[in-house]
């Protein structure tokens, strides 16, 4: 490891020294700012509908992940080879994590969680691979906000639909809650306002999921390009590359974890506020039907 780094440093330094002697060095802060979004490569219908470089790289990531999982599950055996045991450890780790976050019932969402995590972490780590983001066809997918918007919207639609399928109509009582009027006009008014604020915060969930992932990865690319331009010899930016690898891992974890948390929030019924959270679920459902009856009578 240390020898490899030393070798790269010597090669880097030699290239820079030769360029300096030949007078070919660019003017000093030679900063190439990464693009906000992908650049269209093939235009299908104007600039709006096109195959951009981040979309192309996303297909590469998908092909990589699908190929790896196909290879690992092609010949399943009781005495796993290296690839199979690696994937098994990965899946076991994911499922332990999901159970620790959402309980045994959250295991249903393990495929979604694992896929999101693996896709995002692969895309994030592509951002620090040489040539990705520098040649025309390659750009790290998560440093394009269209990709993160797609991920955030998909997760949003998924957790809402899971909640509606689980709780049916009572799912909407978290936003339009009239049960407070039993205790008085003031409390009822407060609960209605709180429900509306909750409704607006759903939009900010999409926005924050989108911006957090994109801002971190794109900001990391900017930091990398600026530091690399400042130190001239690229290997001196190696600590920052390590930091970017860590950030990519943590952001992938945060994105998939937040989606999982939103799902578990969506499928739990919290009709009577948080004091009743310890109650058993049948009782909560009974309360819901009572409220629904009262609402229909009123």
């Amino acid at each position: 490891m240390r020898q490899t780094l030393l070798f790269i440093a010597i090669v880097n330094g030699a290239v820079v020294a030769i360029a300096a002697m030949a007078g070919q060095l660019p003017p000093w802060p030679d900063i190439h700012q990464p693009e906000i979004t992908g650049i269209p490569l093939i235009e299908l219908s104007g600039e709006e509908i096109s195959i951009s470089n981040s979309l192309f790289t996303m297909w590469l990531v998908m092909a990589l992940l699908i190929g790896a999982s196909w290879l690992a599950t092609r010949r399943l055996s009781d005495e796993p080879g290296r690839l199979q045991s690696l994937i098994e450890q990965l899946v076991q780790g994911f499922s332990d994590f999901v159970v620790s976050v959402g309980g045994q019932s959250a295991l249903r969402f393990l495929p979604l969680f694992g896929t999101l995590f693996l896709f995002i972490v692969t895309s994030n780590w592509l951002g620090v691979v040489p040539f990705v983001g520098q040649v025309a066809w390659l750009k790290a997918p998560t440093s394009d906000y269209h990709v993160t918007a797609g991920l955030a919207l998909t997760s949003f639609v998924y957790y809402q639909s899971v909640g509606i399928r689980k709780l049916k109509l009572s799912y909407f009582t978290r936003w339009f809650n009239l049960s407070g009027f039993r205790e008085g006009v003031f409390l009822g008014f407060v609960m209605v306002v709180v429900g509306l604020i909750e409704l607006i915060s759903e939009i900010f969930r999409i926005l924050s999921l989108l911006l957090r992932l994109w801002g971190n990865i794109w900001g990391g690319e900017i930091a990398l390009s600026v530091i690399t331009a400042l130190v001239v010899v690229p290997i001196f930016a190696a600590p920052l590359i390590g930091l970017e690898l860590l950030v990519g891992l943590v952001q992938a974890l945060v994105f998939s974890l937040l989606v999982l948390v939103y799902i578990t929030l969506a499928i739990e019924s919290h009709d009577e506020g948080h004091e009743d959270a310890q109650d058993s679920h049948p009782a909560a459902h009974g309360d819901t039907s009572q409220i629904a009856q009262e609402v229909t009578h009123a």
């Binding site: 906000i36 620790s100 924050s208 911006l211 957090r212 801002g215 971190n216 945060v254 974890l257 937040l258």
Partner: protein, 74 residues
């Protein structure tokens, strides 16, 4: 000299100040909690990561605003 650049600098500086303070407080409390109750390390770590993500997203908003201002100044 365009004032939008000044605004961009202030936006990212002040915005990240708040997020940094928040994450600092959160990290110190999480470390304290792990020290008091090492058995709950996994749970505390998960919660700390989620909450740090919330605090951090505000800093990222400031960062995005700063870049919008900067592109306006060009």
């Amino acid at each position: 000299m365009n004032l939008a650049w000044l605004g961009a600098g202030f936006a990212v500086g002040l915005g990240v100040l708040g997020a940094g303070l928040g994450i600092g407080i959160l990290g110190s409390k999480a470390a304290e909690a792990i020290g008091r109750n090492p058995d709950a390390t996994g749970l505390i770590r998960t919660n700390a990561i989620i909450l740090a993500a919330f605090a951090e997203s505000l800093g990222i908003f400031a960062f995005v605003i700063a870049f919008l201002l900067q592109s306006k100044a060009l």
